[in-house]
């Protein structure tokens, strides 16, 4: 059998199935050295501010642990709660045998040139694991930070919620204010074991000329719940992401929520795909996308492979100020006895709604902003209050900046 490295080498020039192709040679893999930071408060103010936009709580008060990576270097990594492990992946690969049971077991190195490169030029990334039976109720946080102009960041993350555990992660990606150009490639593998509960909220806060290629795959065992949230509201050059989740145990549930804003020059091709492979599994994919002049492709795909499963897709888009909004919902039922549904809508804000709010004394701009804010407010079931507050805060901040 060919080794993973061989397969990666062969896929080095393989274009992705979807999304604009990226010239990897146009970016640098040379990272400046960044030293460890013990006290997050001592980081430069500008960095702290950018990281806060991506959901990082510098005080760590409401967090169970933190991982921060600047360019290629893990500068902070630590867990403050019993039963929670946060380890830089390079360290895990060197010191822990068990990581081999998870590393590249869900994602394929030869998917495309981005996975190949992440295999061949791994810089770092995080392993976050909740041990069996441990309920980690405070969120763990991670931040992947681009500090060098034109840098190509390759990250590999492994997230494991062991049996009967509960784990909430807020993972932010941001770039320094002096960075305009960069490439972020992120491989993430999610393991939600029997009766475990994992929520993963990813907030992107990049710069206008940053290209992002996440490659995520998750698996959910019997009775497990995987809640995946993605927020990208800041201008970014291109994001192409189509995470896949496999529900393989009876009663497993996956829900995916995306909030997207496409600014002029931005190209967002974002979706979610869920395979229902066991009895009584359920899937929900919800996206709310607004284009202000950017191009947005909002994909969703639910595949039902066994009877007695249910899935629902909801894809709503608003065109506010030019741009293209392309909703592509797909449903595939492969046997009798499945229930799959979708609703998709692309439109504008109803004038009637604006006038209604104006008749309460709001200006036209205030009325529009209020309706847009409402559009982006999705009630996410099972999301703990601090995370909900964090998402609300991120949406509020970004909305103020973008609108």
């Amino acid at each position: 059998m060919r080794s993973l490295d061989d397969r990666a080498h062969e896929a080095k020039d393989k274009k992705a199935a979807i999304g604009p192709d990226v010239d990897l040679d146009a970016y640098s893999l040379e990272s400046p050295t960044h030293v460890d930071v013990k006290n997050l408060n001592l980081m430069p103010e500008a960095d702290k501010e950018k990281m806060a936009f991506a959901g990082l709580d510098i005080s760590e008060k409401e967090r169970s642990g933190t991982y921060i990576q600047k360019d290629a270097f893990a500068i902070h990594s630590g867990s403050y709660q019993d039963g929670l492990e946060i380890i830089p992946i390079r360290k895990a690969l060197k010191e822990m045998d068990w990581i081999q049971e998870y590393y590249w077991k869900l994602a394929s190195v030869d998917t495309d040139k981005y996975t190949a490169q992440a295999r061949l030029d791994l810089q770092n990334g995080y392993v976050i694991r909740a041990l069996p039976g441990k309920k980690i109720t405070l969120p763990a946080q991670a931040c992947l930070y681009l500090d060098k102009e034109g840098f190509n960041q390759n990250v590999h993350n492994i997230i494991i919620a062991e049996e009967d555990s509960e784990l909430h992660i807020i993972s932010g990606c941001a770039s320094a204010s002096h960075v305009t150009r960069g490439l972020h490639v992120g491989i993430s593998e999610f393991y939600v074991k029997k009766n475990a509960k994992l929520s993963f909220s990813m907030i992107h806060h990049w710069a206008e000329d940053v290209v992002v290629r996440p490659r995520s795959v998750g698996i959910v065992e019997k009775g497990g719940l995987f809640l995946s949230n993605y927020i990208s509201m800041k201008p970014v050059k291109s994001v192409q992401s189509y995470p896949t989740i496999y529900l393989v145990g009876k009663g497993a549930v996956a829900r995916s929520y995306s909030l997207l804003v496409g600014s002029p020059g931005s190209e967002l091709d974002v979706g979610g795909r869920i395979y229902l492979r066991a009895k009584d599994t359920r899937a929900e994919i919800v996206s709310r996308a607004i284009t202000n002049g950017g191009n947005i492709i909002s994909r969703g795909d639910i595949v039902a492979e066994v009877p007695g499963v249910r899935g629902h897709l909801e894809c709503h888009g608003l065109i506010l100020n030019g741009g293209v909004m392309h909703a592509i919902p797909e449903l595939k039922g492969m046997v009798d006895g499945v229930e799959l549904s979708h609703e998709a809508a692309v439109g504008k804000i109803a004038q009637e709604e604006i006038l209604y709010l104006m008749s309460r004394g709001l200006t036209e701009e205030e009325a529009t902003a209020t309706i847009v804010r409402g559009f982006l407010s999705v009630d996410i079931p099972d999301l703990p209050a601090p995370l909900k507050a964090e998402i609300d805060r991120a949406v509020d901040l970004s909305q103020k900046e973008v609108m």
Binding site: A350, E352, E353, L355, Y356, L357, M358, S359, R360, G361, L362, T363, E364, E366, A367, T370, I371, R373, G374, F375, L376, S377, V378
Partner: protein, 281 residues
């Protein structure tokens, strides 16, 4: 004071209001009657400032300002508010948020909602899945938060169950500074099939020192009533709860008749709008 002179309004290519005149003095509440399609809602929407109602002639003055071409939000800030019959549903916008937005100087939303028995709805999306009666209570809550000086009510009793209609009536009275003990005005003792016989009380205006003719409120001695109300009703139920000074019949785009609200309503029931418009003119 609201003064409408020779108002002509088009909706699309259709003339909706034709040379309409109307004056409502500070403290007065008028009831607007009229058959379906006569332009009642159009009149309210025009006063509120909805741009699809094009004013092709005439003038609207409120608080001494010509508001004929003022934007809808400027009118709201000047003190005009409306309770809609079928307001839009807005996904994701919490009722609490809109009530807060209505208030110019901050209002205790929870206390207001408690009064309207509406606490459970504050964290629901505005109007999404609300019943007819719930919409009315939500609309009145917003008007209370706004504390409008001119309140326009489009069929405030439609879709409201019998238990809640007195709550709606009392709230309208409070909004229009007509609360506490005052009985509906009537020229003669009236016995409506829908309600009990009401005591009779005439509503003569008392002259104020400013030369205008505000009313004294019965419940709050010494306080001068200034709020103006204009209420559309089809069923007339609201007359049992809300005291009003004048009834108006809108017919064919003009005010075709005026008189005591209860009398006019009685006439409409007896002879229909067409005849009533003619006899009351």
């Amino acid at each position: 004071m609201l003064l409408i002179e020779d108002l002509q309004v088009k909706l699309g290519n259709k003339k909706i209001l034709k040379h309409l005149d109307l004056e409502i003095l500070p403290g007065e509440t008028h009831i607007l009657f009229g058959p379906n399609g006569s332009g009642k809602t159009s009149l309210l929407m025009t006063i509120m400032g909805y741009p699809q109602y094009k004013v092709t002639g005439g003038k609207i003055t409120f608080k001494g300002e010509d508001i004929t071409h003022m934007t809808i939000d400027d009118r709201a800030r000047l003190g005009i508010g409306m309770s809609y019959q079928r307001p839009p549903s807005i996904q994701g916008l919490k009722t609490r948020r809109i009530i807060e937005a209505c208030s110019r100087d901050g209002v205790d939303v929870d206390a207001l909602a408690k009064q309207m028995n509406f606490t459970d709805f504050l964290d629901r999306d505005i109007n999404v899945g609300f019943s007819g009666g719930e919409i009315k209570r939500s609309e009145l809550l917003q008007l209370m938060a706004q504390d409008a000086d001119l309140a326009l009510f489009d069929e405030p009793e439609s879709g409201v169950d019998l238990e809640n209609i007195s709550l709606i009536g009392n709230t309208i009275n409070a909004l229009l500074q007509r609360d506490s003990g005052e009985q509906p005005c009537s020229a003669a003792r009236q016995c409506e099939p829908a309600g009990p016989c009401k005591a009779v009380k005439s509503c003569e205006p008392t002259k104020s020192s400013k030369g205008e003719t505000p009313f004294k409120t019965a419940g709050q001695p010494g306080m001068t009533r200034t709020k103006i109300g204009l209420i559309i009703t089809h069923t007339g139920f609201i007359l049992d709860y809300v005291t009003a000074d004048k009834g108006l019949v809108l017919y064919n785009g003009v005010i075709a008749g005026k008189g005591h609200p209860a009398e006019i309503f009685k006439q409409i029931r007896k002879v229909g709008y067409k005849e009533c418009a003619r006899c009351a003119a």
